[in-house]
């Protein structure tokens, strides 16, 4: 069957499933809307958390970042950072916040720090972090549609918005949870099937995790040794040992992503949906199991496709592929502009090297690595169609989770918590639906015309979560003496230094003209890049909070009782 028809069928079928689930799971109480009634089985919640967590960035971009931009070993920061945060979440946050037993992260901060101001600071952090993150998802949805369904970017985005709108508004957290379980199933098959085929082709081992450490069928050398050799031959640095900037930078980068992961509200609220504290702990373990399946496959895809691609262009040293004989996938991706060739020495052959003067592969976009992997490995069309559906599932599931986090912060924390405390449950439920609809529209609007900052969102979202929310939550649970003044000044100081470092070069909210400190090197603080700065912001937050708290009044009795309650076994 033709690829396009097949893609329509596969994607159309998955969408039908999501919509059917949404109608079946529609809700009529705020508890069901915000936390699915606290009734989700921990394994199911783990799977939904995995889909919620793994976005278009994990599915489409991560392996490419590891394979190309971060030169192999340097990409470990993503693998470690985006999984290790779950250990922090499972031991330091999720169980106690579940014990607390309410609906949102700002709600906890507001009650623990007995302050509406603290709650509003948390709401602001949550909205900025989640909204920047959601724009990235909307863009992913638009790109995936336009590439695979051959409709325009805008139409693609519109279809995606309608689908998310439908099941998120109707079903709230309950609808989102069950849809995310379906989406996880789609995305994990879509990710692992091509990887398994590629691993078998190269090494004969059906497990990509083992294949990456195996010998090649072609010449019996170890795959990674071969990759190092092939890449150093054409001037690149060694794949298995090249760090990202410096050891110190990798350390902070990894730590920032871990702390940020644990502090992202849309992940934390997933643990409010399980029936008990015990379930919250177990559920974090299951979430990581489901995430690890993709995250241990990603480095294998990265290494294998990089080797495949390099070998295709230069089968043996000095023997280059003629441009006229380039394979079909090469042509397909050239038309998207993500792959570009320029015959600099006009010999009709493709020379690929690390040297800008002679390299003729002038553009290899990171995103190609995963999306083109089935074509490079000559897999059948249904696999390509499945990858399209998987990419969309990853983007849709994360977008829905983020939208719920944003709308609950607005309707529950701002509207009910501060502006109109007397609103009825029915009124709040209706308000949260309206807010949800409005959030989908604004995210979509930003997706139509993504502001310059799409690329900087990682730094911003993780920086905010790491430098403001995570320390405030940790201290709230583990440091009984922590009071309003300490927590609020800590959060503001943490966000302050992080935003200062992120915006100094890229401009305030990524508006280039507002960049300050223009003449300094972007990584002036011990060579740490802005993406890795969240951990420094978190340290500042902890330090400021603890010092300020020492000199201000102890929290009142009822707050101490609250801390005792969330700490106690029953």
């Amino acid at each position: 069957m033709e690829l396009r028809t097949l893609t329509y069928l596969v994607v159309g079928f998955t969408f039908l499933v999501y919509v059917v689930i949404a109608v079946w799971a529609r809700v009529d109480s705020t508890k069901e809307f915000y936390v699915a009634g606290g009734s989700i089985n921990p394994v199911a919640n783990g799977m939904a958390t995995a889909a919620d967590w793994m976005s278009a960035a994990s599915f489409i971009s991560m392996a490419g970042l590891i394979g190309f931009s971060y030169q192999g070993y340097g990409g470990s920061v993503f693998l470690l950072g985006w999984t290790g945060g779950y250990v922090l979440l499972a031991t330091c946050l999720a169980p106690y916040l579940r014990k607390y037993g309410k609906y949102t992260v700002p709600e906890f901060i507001g009650e623990r720090y007995y302050s509406k101001a603290a709650r509003m600071v948390a709401v602001a952090c949550l909205i900025i972090a989640s909204l920047t993150y959601v724009i990235g998802q909307m863009k992913g949805i638009g790109v995936a549609f336009s590439r695979f369904l051959e409709v325009g970017y805008e139409q693609g985005l519109l279809i995606g918005m309608v689908i998310v709108f439908f099941y998120a508004v109707l079903g709230g957290m309950k609808g989102i949870t069950y849809t995310q379980i379906a989406q996880y199933t789609v995305l994990i098959f879509a990710y692992t099937i091509p990887a398994i085929f590629i691993s078998i082709q190269l090494t004969g081992n059906p497990f990509p995790q083992l294949g990456l450490g195996s010998t090649l069928l072609s010449d019996g050398t170890y795959l990674l040794d071969k990759l190092d050799l092939v890449l150093t031959d054409i001037g690149f640095k060694e794949y298995t040992t090249t760090a990202r900037l410096s050891t110190l930078n990798m350390f902070f980068y990894t730590m920032s992503l871990m702390i940020g992961t644990a502090g992202l509200p849309h992940v934390i609220i997933r643990f409010f949906t399980v029936p008990s504290v015990k379930d919250a702990r177990v559920s974090a373990g299951w979430a990581l199991v489901f995430i690890a399946i993709l995250y241990t496959t990603a480095p294998a895809i990265a290494g294998m496709v990089r080797l495949n691609l390099t070998n295709t262009i230069e089968p043996t040293p000095g023997n280059y592929l003629a441009y006229a004989e380039r394979p079909q996938w090469f042509k397909n991706w050239e038309t998207t502009g993500l792959l570009q060739f320029e015959d600099k020495n006009a010999d009709g052959l493709i020379q690929y090297s690390a040297d800008d003067a002679t390299n003729e592969m002038v553009k290899i976009d990171n995103d190609i690595l995963v999306l083109a992997s089935p074509e490079i490995a000559k897999l059948p069309n249904w696999v390509i169609a499945l990858v399209a559906a998987g990419g969309l599932a990853a983007a849709l599931s994360t977008a829905a989770g983020l939208l719920l986090a944003i709308s609950s912060a607005i309707s529950h924390d701002m509207l009910k918590g501060v502006l109109r405390p007397n609103i009825s449950e029915r009124g709040e439920l209706n308000a949260s639906r309206v807010v949800m609809g409005f959030t989908v529209l604004s995210a979509g609007y930003l997706g139509f015309d993504p502001p310059d900052f799409a690329a900087g969102t990682v730094a911003l979202a993780f920086g905010l979560a790491a430098s403001s929310l995570f320390p405030a939550l940790m201290l709230g649970i583990f440091y009984k003496r922590m009071n309003t003044a300490g927590a609020v000044s800590g959060m503001l100081a943490g966000i302050g230094v992080t935003l200062f470092y992120v915006f100094q070069h890229s401009g305030i909210m990524f508006v280039k003209e507002t960049a300050f400190l223009g003449s300094m090197s972007p990584n002036w603080f011990f060579g740490i890049e802005p993406n890795a700065f969240g951990a420094v912001g978190a340290l500042v937050n902890f330090a400021v909070a603890i010092v300020v708290c020492r000199y201000t009044a102890e929290p009142p009795e009822h707050v101490l009782a609250l801390v005792d309650r969330i700490r106690s076994p029953n």
Partner: protein
């Protein structure tokens, strides 16, 4: 806080510190700071440090969480004195 809850909390903190020590040492020291030293050793076709950074640590994280969940369930049983299944949130229990 009663003595009982105090002991429970201290046991919880001890467990967390132990697990987080492993959580820190393996990826940050093994996978980043001392990666070059460990890369002198092989693990099949992998350099050992590279394997820790791109595979091993992830498996370890999963194991750490399940150890924590299991140990805490045991602590819950010892300290709560009632059926461990009853761990509803405090608010629900008050009702």
């Amino acid at each position: 806080m009663s003595n009982n809850s105090d002991a429970y909390w201290r046991a919880n903190i001890r467990l967390i510190l132990k697990l987080l020590a492993i959580w820190f040492v393996v990826p940050f020291l093994g996978g980043i700071v001392f990666v070059d030293v460990l890369n002198e050793f092989r693990f099949g076709g992998y350099k050992l440090g590279f394997w820790i950074a791109q595979q091993g640590s992830i498996y370890l994280f999963v194991v750490l969480i399940f150890i924590y969940a299991r140990q805490m369930t045991k602590l819950d049983e010892i300290f709560s004195g009632k059926d461990s299944a009853d761990t509803r949130s405090t608010e629900e229990q008050i009702k």
